[in-house]
Symmetry: C2
Subunit: 298 residues, 2 copies
Amino acid sequence: MEEINFLKNLFPKLKSDDKVVIKPGDDCAAIKWKDSKLQLIAVDQVVAEQHFLTSTDSKRVGRKLLARNLSDIAAMGGTPLYALCTSAADKSFDQNYHEEFMSGIIELADKHETQIIGGDVCGNPKGFVATLTIIGEVDHKKVITRDGSEPGDYLFATGRFGDSFLTEHHLDFTPRLKEGKWLADNAFAKAMLDVSDGILLDSMRLVKAGNNVSLQLFTEKILPRTENLPLKNILTDGEDYELLFSVSKENAEELKNEWPFSTPLTCIGRFYEKSEQVEIINEERVDLNKLFNTFSHF
Amino acid sequence: MEEINFLKNLFPKLKSDDKVVIKPGDDCAAIKWKDSKLQLIAVDQVVAEQHFLTSTDSKRVGRKLLARNLSDIAAMGGTPLYALCTSAADKSFDQNYHEEFMSGIIELADKHETQIIGGDVCGNPKGFVATLTIIGEVDHKKVITRDGSEPGDYLFATGRFGDSFLTEHHLDFTPRLKEGKWLADNAFAKAMLDVSDGILLDSMRLVKAGNNVSLQLFTEKILPRTENLPLKNILTDGEDYELLFSVSKENAEELKNEWPFSTPLTCIGRFYEKSEQVEIINEERVDLNKLFNTFSHF
């Protein structure tokens, strides 16, 4: 099934009122909570032989599941609070597997003061599917959505890209919670998301959600995770879980000067008016244009 | 894996503070929301060949998934507000299958003014696992938990029991939302849950959570779903999704007189002091005692 077409058809069928402040399609949904706060809510999954190998230590799998969700909270500038998790597993995933899996979730949850408040465990004829629902909060005035990029803005990214599977970054990455919250608190990011499907596809999501923008990627500036990694891998490998965000021209220099983290911060592109028809990629044009065309229908 | 042992080991490892008003182990967790409201949160799953046959119309499967979660909200006396859903499916579950599945969710959600605010769709090497996270609300003063049954209380149930699979009740049942809310609004139910694992196991959960109580079930009073259904099926078939709740002796008559619904309401048992060692079941003692012993370790 094509997820993209499915969702494209689905979203118009969903009713929502103005208590739902951020609707389906962003990293998290947001509903009105108390005082000036929004409640952020998202759900994500891990599936055996899809997101991890069955042979992988299940503690790391549990950790990954929560970390993916924390990354979604980070992308809104939020703080995680609560989580619920489910598993549906066949009998080869025994009690020890589940206990290790949960210990991976709990260890990371404790680190981020996130409380596990519910869940469900059931059988499955074949395989292992686990989900985690994350609940967080953010000041309504500070929340960062995917839309809002304007011509003239710069595109910034945290961290390094590509080669996530071979390096096992996809299991051990650090969700960029403190960076996301700092960007929100200091109003640097006009639009933001976390890079789960590769920098090319996810930067296109910012373009689509932006205000009549096209994008030039400074591909040579993007930091690769490993040496000599081909550009195609840097752009499309996925599971980087870094933050990708737009910053106004006026704030870009100040951002670079004030960035208080050891996490790399790189300016990797610039938004232009859509009508200027700027090339999205300035190297390896043929292959990447083809990729771009594959992605461009959503 | 034994779910019960797993959860028994798991719960003590979970940290929680006093913002979590109802902790894991009830039908929903509850956190402080705004004003005098609690937010109710639960998650449930449906798995192909576990909770439904792959040949079943997927619209009815989607409906069932939401209805199960609505039943959990009903069991707290709450009102549903929002939902998020996930699916992990192999390619044999195509776009049409998913669209029908979602239409079953959306149709029931619209009926209960419940907004779908997020979700996730991904691949699965084999099978179909879907989850739904439900968010609802209830007045803090009115919420009904599993604990609170006292000696002298009567045990009441809505509806009929047993034979849920053959009659397809498990697909088409009506979650008892209006009954649950009415019981909460009128403070009739001291403790409540929804019957998902059979009336015997779920009434034992009320006993375990109660204040030093044992239970006599008036087994002959329990309404069977179908004629001539053996008691064992009535008590243990599961997936009834009826409400089971305790009512003080003083309120029992008034409850029966004021019950405004066409849904059957039956007094099916009475709580005694634990020390009185009342038989839990008064028919088919051997088989049921064996069953009871299987369940009694949690």
